[in-house]
């Protein structure tokens, strides 16, 4: 999916827990997610903290989308 959408000329950010697989399939902008059973949240946190975590992930992904990349890049800082 990531590759097909990019082929159509639209940049894609892949939010993904298993970064090595994302690298193998060829995503260009990769944002590491939390865990495989819950990529975009963490049930161990209370709702307020979890919302903050989710917002941070989305913001990081949007930032990645607006960043020029030269080949595969993992946004893990």
């Amino acid at each position: 999916m990531v590759k097909e959408v990019e082929r159509a000329g639209i940049p894609v950010v892949h939010i993904c827990t298993v970064v090595p697989i994302s690298l193998t399939v060829g995503a260009n902008r990769i944002v590491p997610a939390i865990a495989i059973p819950h990529p975009l949240g963490d049930p161990k946190l209370d709702p307020k903290d979890e919302k903050a975590l989710r917002r941070k992930l989305v913001e990081k992904a949007l930032e990645a989308l607006c960043t020029e990349v030269d080949g595969q890049t993992v946004f893990d800082k």
Partner: protein, 428 residues
Amino acid sequence: MRLELGYVLINDVQFGEVTKIEKGVLFVNKSELINLIKEDEHLKSVDVEIARPGESVRITPVKDVIEPRVKLEGEGGIFPGVLSKVQTVGSGKTNVLKGCAVVTTGKIVGFQEGIIDMTGPGADYTPFSKLNNVVLVCEPIDGLKQHDHERAIRFAGLKATQYLAEAAIDIEADTVEVYETLPLLQGINAYPDLPKVAYVLMLQSQGLMHDTYVYGVDAKQIVPTVLYPTELMDGAIISGNCVSACDKNTTYHHLNNPVIHDLFKQHGKEINFVGVIITNENVYLADKERSSDWAAKIAEFMGLDGVIVSQEGFGNPDTDLIMNCKKIEAKGIKTVIITDEYAGRDGASQSLADADKAADAVVTGGNANEVIVLPPMDKVIGTLDYSDIIAGGFDGSLSKDGTITVEIQAITGATNEMGFNKMSVTGF
């Protein structure tokens, strides 16, 4: 560490007045066994059935298969940290009831348990069709949570094998095999000219009832460590898995790990088999990185020349497999990996979710997506209610006459990634 395994050959299982072994027949006092399992307050009803090789019997949904073993000499007891005290096992003498097993059934997750056919085309795909099986059919009390249900069934199986195995305490074994592994430095010095080889055993530990236990510890919480191979033969590792049936390692697989047995066969001849490194398959990337780093670090620390890596399950554990392979190869240690494939029903899709050039020696247990037609059996132990939704099944899998059309994924042990099956492929 030296272990003598005494194989007490079991040719038949029958119900009888007293639980005992006589001339290769295991007699089971059914009510005594049922009462023992029913001591668990989480179980509403318990029944015991027998399924023999060649009988027209289908067992489903299968959770675990366990071989009865009993410790005669040496420290600790079978299933340490779970049924026995948490002492280090793997030395002394152990009797094995060879030719029979305890099979647990239950609709715990429903879609993640397997099928064992005792005859017909499906029987060829599972090693457990060749055993005399004592099958536990347990119903949980109303409202029992899945995790508690899984635990209750896990313990029911272990307790039943312990009960049956005690019948072999005073029985003289038909054959005896001796397995010995020396402490690392002595072991290396024993065969200085042979390549030093270890086995990297990956344990399913994704959570949500995809769990394995090491001396009673949930494998999610371990960091890679080293075991003597004989520790596994005494039940140091048990399965708590509700995952796809074809490539989960049942407790029977851990007790009879064919990689370990084959490495012992070549030990002192072609290779020097120095030990087992266990590692896990967790769902956080940091855990995957840490565990594969440590597996490689331990392999380097042991001074290995080669390793065999076996996987359990599929999907994201493919990444753990490839990370182990890549990082161990990067230390200058040769690797062979054992996996299976999800290459689509026509076999045309990519087999693994991850890949790397370092993985240039691969053994496969077969393509789990291959479709098979399982004709109806005269008797079903368990229930067919889940045939349409079992992993490998699809809407319409179950026909009215009891025929099941499924991917071999649904058959317990069909594409086992320790190689405890018949399928493989040769490629160049």
